[in-house]
């Protein structure tokens, strides 16, 4: 791998996602992009980040990227290993986790997540996706939710075909009305930029552009009439240290 400061948009996404995780927080980690970001954060600026996996590993400290949510390295390096019912009932449900870190097949304007079916008919789907897994209760119970997803008009839609996990519903106040504990998605990180919910409407708004990306490009990859924050920022490019750590993690 080159030592020059070149990087892919996926690397920018993982690094931007990692930066959002600050030290000492308890993070419920979905597999794939969230796990990469969480492990990168723990190996760089947030060594005391507590990683919780739905397989029952509390405080896992893997030295390489886990190949699955139930990789043996998670149990071997955890503070404690508990059963799957226990991780959901004693650790997630009561609100002990600060950040739920999720991926998504489809994400909509209000941060609602679909990982169930593409298409309007549940029984005759265009594409059958894997399903809910732990996501509905992670999205409901964590203090806040970060979503990391590769952005396109197929993934970033006006309204998800199926609400697998509730983001902000359809408006401010929906989470409270539904009795959902946490603040919901406060941050969405893609390969193009960073999005946050508008405090009034809860609609996702572009707040940061990754280096080299223009607003028009983001709009083209968004399935709704995208709002842009007045104080739109530029994501700092990955540092050499960040890239080195990310690549070491992936190669280990």
């Amino acid at each position: 791998m080159s030592e020059r400061n070149e990087y892919s948009s996926d690397e920018m996404m993982s690094i931007a996602a990692a930066r959002a995780l600050t030290g000492g927080r308890r993070c419920f980690v979905g597999i794939g992009l969230p796990s990469t970001a969480a492990n990168l954060a723990r190996r760089t600026h947030a060594p005391d980040l507590v990683l919780v996996y739905e397989s029952g590993a509390l405080g896992a400290k893997p030295g390489r990227l886990p190949a699955s949510i139930g990789d043996g390295i998670l149990a071997e390096t955890a503070d404690a290993v508990v059963s799957v019912p226990e991780v959901f009932n004693y650790w997630l449900q009561p609100g002990r986790i600060d950040v739920g870190f999720l991926g998504a097949a489809q994400l909509d304007r209000f941060g609602n997540i679909n990982t169930t079916v593409i298409g309007a008919d549940y029984h005759e789907p265009k594409v059958r996706l894997p399903g809910a897994g732990g996501a509905p209760e992670i999205a409901a119970s964590c203090g806040e939710v970060f979503v990391v997803v590769r952005q396109s008009r197929r993934s970033f839609v006006e309204q998800v075909d199926f609400v697998t996990s509730v983001g902000h519903g359809r408006a401010a106040g929906d989470r409270e009305r539904l009795g959902l504990r946490g603040a919901g998605p406060t941050l969405v990180i893609t390969d193009l930029g960073v999005f946050r919910p508008d405090p009034e409407t809860r609609e996702l708004v572009l707040t940061e552009l990754h280096p080299g990306v223009e607003v028009e490009q983001v709009r083209e990859a968004t399935g709704w009439d995208l709002g842009v924050a007045p104080d739109l920022a530029r994501t700092p490019a990955p540092t050499k240290d960040e890239l080195r750590a990310l690549r070491a993690l992936k190669e280990a």
């Binding site: 397989s55 949510i69 043996g72 149990a75 019912p85 009932n89 549940y122 409901a140 519903g169 009795g179």
Partner: protein, 275 residues
Amino acid sequence: MAELVSLAEGVARLVRDGDTVALEGFTHLIPVAAGHEIIRQGRRELTLVRMTPDIVYDQLIGAGCARKLVFSWGGNPGVGSLHRFRDAVQHAWPAPLEIEEHSHAGMANRYVAGASGLPFAVLRGYSGTDLPAQTATIKQITCPFTGERLAAVPALNPDVSIIHAQRADRDGNVQLWGLTGVQKEAVLAARRSLITVEEIVDDLTPVPGGMVLPGWALTCVAEVPRGAYPSYAQGYYERDNGYYQDWDAIGRDRDAFTRWVNDHVLAGTTAGGAR
């Protein structure tokens, strides 16, 4: 006391056409060899239950063993979709597949209720999602003390639950360690149980993080070395990540899949690779 049997005998005695069958294991200790034996014995019309149906369920579905799947996440972990599962849901091949879909929290609590001899479990779940509209086994319940509304899900009580573990002793006491998932609950919730193990030993030396399921709570135990392959058995072998990757191409194509089942399952090479 659990009876020590061969895998073929255990499946023949405990798994019947039309049964509700759970093969559990959360990435770790997946009872793959037992799943292949079910295919070999040609079981039909099974209601398959599993939180994380993955390759072995893709194989069971593709081989026509299932009429229904009760689950919370169906995929090839770290790779992508299950194409046999998709083909059954989207095109009813080789047969229509009814689905009953929950979240992990809901499924885990359904097993807990089953293991506890309760008819239902209560959780904070599903609120605001589209799942309750599709899944009749998600209802609401009111706390008799606070008036709060919560989700209720019915107990899961499979006719037979099958898990894989590291070891058993000659009395059929079973020991497993590492990520132990929902295996205890799945076994205790079931009317009958079959536990495949890497080896049968004289004494179950205690292991940190280990759990013992007493033989008197189990039905049958079968020694099946590498019975969790291509998943892993902590302390015995690693996960074969290549098998999972290779499965994508095999599972994607009906003919490739049929050839694979014939060559690797029906021919009896239980421990064979995906390739």
